[in-house]
Amino acid sequence: MRCEDLAEMVSATPEGVVIDDVRGRRHVETCLRCQAELARYRKLVRTLRSLRSEVFDPGPGFVADVLAALDDAGDRHLLRSLLSGHRVAYVGGLAVATAGAAGALVIARSRGRRVALAG
């Protein structure tokens, strides 16, 4: 391997920075330059991980802004549910009315037949 390829072989695991490739590991064992570079990568990854504990303050107004945006989104969602609820009620009402009319027609016809038979 070439010393320039070291960066591509560096992997950061929870246990630390390691070299993935067997040939790479053998090379580093005998190359002082790569050993120095690997040590610097370890420092870099450690420092990057230490940034995880930092939390930035989003500043005044952020919480209120997001809650207002959530309110808007919630209102729109509610409106959509209501509209789709009205649509369901409308279609349901139509279905009930149609079924009722069909039932009434069937009953009327069967009564008509009975009257005709009795006569």
Binding site: V10, T47, L48, V55, A73
Partner: protein, 200 residues
């Protein structure tokens, strides 16, 4: 700045709120937002590099989370789910900005060299190194910055990073190596590199 609580403790606090929010409890979602907002904003800031964009991205992330919370299966932690949404929002935001302004730094654009002004005493201080790293991260090309922030700071797997940024896993790995190499050269140069940096 306060440090985030331990993962386990945070998970125990968030779990019942996530369950309630999934059932449509609006107050529970608001509480989730309050508890995680600074953490999400911090990631957005690291990805975007400035406060205004970070606020926009964090807000968009919570709106998406609010719309999608019912579908959140709970396989991952809520915070990890938020990181993925935030990364996706940041990628969309950067893409829109790139299309409008074409001002994204090239991957190999030189980072400003601050080696000469380094105070060895200050450099020894971990806080100073962290500050320097924060500045160096902000000056990386956004496409490189996103990958190294998500992988080396927030510990997201390559697959998740590739999915949220809309790139292949191989591209994510290549960008990570480039980003690490550039930061390593900037913060921890080898002797020859330091001379070369001054010569540029």
């Amino acid at each position: 700045m306060p440090a985030p609580e331990s993962n386990q403790a945070m998970t125990e606090i968030l779990s019942p709120l996530v369950a309630a929010a999934r059932q449509g409890d609006r107050r529970a979602f608001e509480e989730l937002f309050r508890l995680t907002s600074a953490d999400t904003y911090t990631l957005a800031y690291r990805l975007m590099g400035n406060e205004d964009d970070a606020r926009d991205v964090a807000q968009e992330a919570y709106l998406r989370a609010y719309r999608g919370i019912a579908k959140f299966r709970g396989d991952a932690r809520f915070t990890t789910w938020m990181y993925r949404i935030t990364a996706n929002c940041a990628a969309s935001h950067l893409e829109r900005r790139r299309r409008h302004r074409h001002e994204e730094l090239a991957d190999d654009a030189p980072l400003p060299d601050r080696c000469a002004e380094r105070d060895p005493q200050a450099r020894a201080d971990a806080g100073a190194v962290r500050d320097e790293l924060t500045v160096a991260l902000a000056e990386l090309a956004p496409r490189l910055r996103a990958v190294i922030v998500l992988r080396d700071i927030y510990d997201l797997p390559h697959e998740a990073i590739a999915t949220e940024l809309g790139i292949t896993e191989t591209a994510a790995k290549v960008r990570l190596h480039r980003a690490r190499a550039r930061l390593r050269e900037r913060l921890y140069p080898l002797p020859g590199e330091e001379v070369a940096a001054h010569a540029v």
